[in-house]
């Protein structure tokens, strides 16, 4: 077996993951007649797109050796901000812009606290998770915001050449993040930083820039996901995004990202998100108890890391 290398598009882990995802899809197509229907697949993709985008932001943070627990709350902030702006008759594009600026700013604030305050990422983003959700409740008065313009809510329902519009947004994000992580100096630097922050600093990498950027990216992508989620739900919901951080972390980890930093891939996270979605969607269609599905996903997360650790030990 060839050793791990970044040259190849797929590492061994991702190749396996792709096979598992395909096999699972095939099995589900035969196991239940409702799986392989246009309607189900589109819904599956719509839900996975939202989670998938957040997971991609999380991947940046995890590669850098950190964690972002605030993504769910930032999704909520983005959702309520854009809902309120649209209801107050602001144009869609300015509203989008503002919502994204706010989410990115929250992410940057995380990064700033972590780098300059030397607060551990877990704590900084835990605090942000609480505080941001508080902001959501304040802004929305803890009530649903209805009356969003049809032009906005219709977006999530659009289907372009058979695929849901959300899918194309996800695809775009995948493309951009893939290029960023594999082809830019910025990407190289995140890996170096995540692998060994002191060696990165002594090699001239601007560590402040890396910290701020990865958390800003996470904030931005959470903002995008929040907007898409709002379009899909049709309303601004104050509890929107709750718990999303867990799915995001799970997707990245199943996809091969290591919480100790220095490894992780965009494609791996995409596959991880797909796999978890498939289990939940397919299991649902098969009538499996939702709680059992929860257990299965939990086992999957631990198993992925367990197997990955074993593989690492065998090599060294």
């Amino acid at each position: 077996m060839k050793l791990l290398s970044q040259k190849h598009t797929f590492r061994i882990a991702e190749g396996n993951l792709l096979i598992i995802v395909i096999v699972l899809m095939v099995i589900l197509s035969f196991a239940t007649k409702n799986f392989f229907t246009a309607n189900n697949l589109r819904n599956l993709v719509r839900q996975t797109s939202v989670n998938g985008i957040i997971a991609l932001g999380m991947t940046f943070v995890i590669i850098s050796g950190g964690i972002d627990l605030s993504v769910g709350s930032v999704v909520g902030v983005s959702s309520i901000v854009i809902s309120k702006l649209l209801v107050s008759e602001m144009g869609i594009f300015p509203a989008l812009l503002i919502a994204l600026v706010v989410s990115t700013a929250l992410g940057m604030l995380n990064g700033w606290i972590i780098h300059y305050g030397k607060v551990p990422p877990f704590i900084a983003t835990l605090g942000m998770m609480q505080a941001a959700r508080g902001i959501v409740m304040l802004l929305s008065n803890a009530r649903m915001i209805a009356g969003l313009p049809k032009a906005f809510t219709g977006f999530a329902q659009k289907v372009i050449i058979g695929f849901p519009s959300l899918f194309f947004v996800w695809l775009l994000v995948i493309l951009v993040t893939y290029i960023l992580t594999t082809k830019t100096i910025f990407g190289r630097n995140i890996f170096a930083y995540g692998s060994n922050i002191e060696a990165a600093r002594l090699s001239g990498i601007n560590t402040a820039k890396v910290t701020l950027s990865v958390y800003a990216m996470s904030g931005l992508l959470s903002g995008i996901a929040g907007i898409l989620m709002t379009s899909r739900l049709g309303n601004g919901i104050p509890t929107g995004g709750q718990g999303y951080e867990m799915d995001a972390i799970a997707s990245a980890v199943v996809g091969g990202a290591s919480l100790s930093g220095g490894s992780g891939t965009i494609l791996g996270t995409v596959l991880g998100a797909l796999l978890i979605s498939l289990i939940q969607n397919g299991g649902n269609l098969l009538g499996i108890n939702a709680f059992i599905l929860q257990i299965i996903v939990g086992v999957l997360i631990v198993a992925s890391v367990w197997i990955d650790q074993k593989r690492k030990n065998v090599k060294s």
Binding site: K183, I185, R188, N189, A192, A200, S203, K315
Partner: protein, 496 residues
């Protein structure tokens, strides 16, 4: 000394891959004796200590405790046999009290099963008082001064009924008054018949507190003498005085312009008025004992640490280097002492590590040109003879020597003009060492400058054109190549 030694080591040998750390060493310590162990870095002192403490297993020879041949399989057994050590990084639980540290794992219990805290603290107080250490046993370790923490660590070994206590550089953190308190404790230990092994490079202390001294050199036992029958100069000449092999002799080339000038570099409590200069094509050696400030000097120049005063000039221009990126931009590259944790991103590939500090040169609008990245790595691997099946091999899988070459390649790609090597050949086998020396020679041939930190005299003497000797944060002497003498350099480094 009368009676039988408590510890007797006969013909102890220990081999590591590529290096014979101990070669048939003898050592005996009697009860109530304070026995000094001296020798340069790499002489074998810490190896023999680790064998006594059960951290390493000897390859050959025998260890006798109280006349009986004994095996010391691990650290816990060593403790049970009455062997204890006080290292520089004290093994105390910082957030617990002194009493809790003493009784850790062995708390006395009352009849109802709860811990008998009264007993814990009264017994602790007793032990401390017996050593004249006046401190409240309920205080947490973090609330104590470093000196007091060390006294507590020593008291803990006494509490654990140690029969032999090893002190490894005990006075590094102590003031003169505190050193006196330490010596009083050691005298008390002597009175109680405890054996003491005392390791220190501060030779004057050995003449104050020790009874006998054993000299190790290159893993061999040179001589054991009563302290009263020798002096510092004799000890130093026993510690060095070897045949310099050819390995360290490289070609030296004509020097060019002055490249780096350091004037009155100051860092509170660490560096005092350091001044020196380095020319193109020159190898400037920095020699000094542990704690003398060598790494701190280069880190200060490199912008890795802040300085409190002084001026650095590069290529004739005064510069303010506040961050490594500024040093790199000027053309300075640092190969840190701890190459694994400061010089390399171990989980990344050779390809990444070689290009790590110089992506701008092979990128367009921040997009890395993968083919140039690879070409650079392939070229470096070839030129420096880095042994690897592919440039996509993870750096953690390389040997120490090859890892070092990757770091050198990284700086060559940055077109560095000044290379700072901090202990470049530690943990590297002889063959790889020679390759590194050859690379250093080639750097100077190309007109680059090198600062070389090494605590191994033959190495720093063979390679350097001049040597700056550091002693407790100041550069006491700068010695020209024609005046290089092992004894002289070691004396300067010891502050004599």
């Amino acid at each position: 000394m009368e009676g039988r030694p408590f510890l007797e080591m006969r013909g102890i040998s220990k081999q590591f891959p590529g290096v014979k750390a101990l070669d048939k060493v003898d050592l005996s310590v009697f009860p109530g004796e304070v026995h000094a162990l001296v020798g340069e870095n790499g002489a074998g002192k810490s190896t023999i200590i680790k064998i006594i403490m059960g951290v390493y297993q000897k390859d050959e020879g025998s260890v006798l405790l109280d006349g009986t041949e004994t095996n010391i399989p691990n650290v816990i057994e060593a403790g049970n046999l009455g062997l204890a050590a006080v290292y520089q990084d004290l093994t105390l639980a910082h957030d617990l009290s002194i009493g809790e540290n003493f009784f850790m794992g062995q708390f006395p219990r009352k009849r109802n099963g709860l811990i008998d805290w009264d007993h814990v603290f009264s017994k602790t107080e007793e032990t401390l008082k017996a050593l004249n250490v006046d401190v409240n046993p309920r205080l947490k370790i973090t609330e104590l001064s470093p000196a007091m923490q060390e006294m507590v660590a020593i008291a803990k070994t006494v509490h654990k009924k140690a029969k032999l206590i090893i002190f490894d550089e005990p006075t590094a953190l102590l003031s003169n008054e505190e050193v006196e308190i330490l010596f009083d404790i050691i005298r008390k230990l002597k009175e109680n018949g405890i054996s003491v092994i005392y390791i220190s490079h501060r030779l004057e202390e050995i003449f104050t507190i020790c009874d006998n001294v054993s000299v190790l050199k290159d893993g061999k036992h040179v001589k054991t003498l009563p302290v009263a029958q020798t002096n510092q100069d004799e000890l130093i000449s026993l510690m060095v005085g070897r045949d310099l092999t050819d390995m360290y002799n490289i070609n030296h080339f004509p020097k060019g312009e002055e490249l780096l000038k350091v004037e009155n570099l100051n860092r509170s409590k660490v560096l005092k008025d350091i001044s020196f200069s380095v020319k193109q094509g020159e190898i400037f050696g920095l020699f000094g004992l542990v704690g003398s400030g060598r790494t701190e000097v280069v880190r200060a120049i490199y912008g890795a640490d802040a300085i409190d005063g002084g001026q650095v000039s590069f290529k004739g221009k005064a510069v303010q280097i506040k961050h490594p990126s500024e040093a790199i931009a000027l053309g300075i590259g640092l190969l840190p002492e701890d190459r694994k944790h400061q010089g390399l991103a171990l989980s990344q590939t050779i390809n990444h590590n070689i290009n790590l500090a110089s992506y701008k040169a092979i990128s367009k609008f921040s997009f890395v040109m993968g083919n140039k990245e690879r070409a650079r790595s392939e070229d470096s691997v070839q030129r420096l003879h880095i042994k690897t099946p592919s440039i996509h091999q993870l750096v953690r899988n390389l040997s120490g020597g090859n890892q070092q070459k990757v770091i050198i390649a990284k700086w060559l790609c940055c077109e560095s003009k000044l290379f700072i090597f901090d202990e470049p050949t530690v943990g590297i086998d002889v063959g790889a060492k020679q390759e590194i020396y050859k690379l250093i020679e080639e750097l100077t041939k190309a007109g680059h400058a090198v600062i070389l930190i090494s605590s191994y005299l033959p190495e720093v003497m063979g390679l350097s054109d001049r040597i700056g000797v550091l002693h407790e944060g100041s550069m006491s002497h700068i010695v020209e190549r024609e005046d290089f003498k092992e004894e002289t350099l070691l004396r300067y480094a010891s502050g004599l």
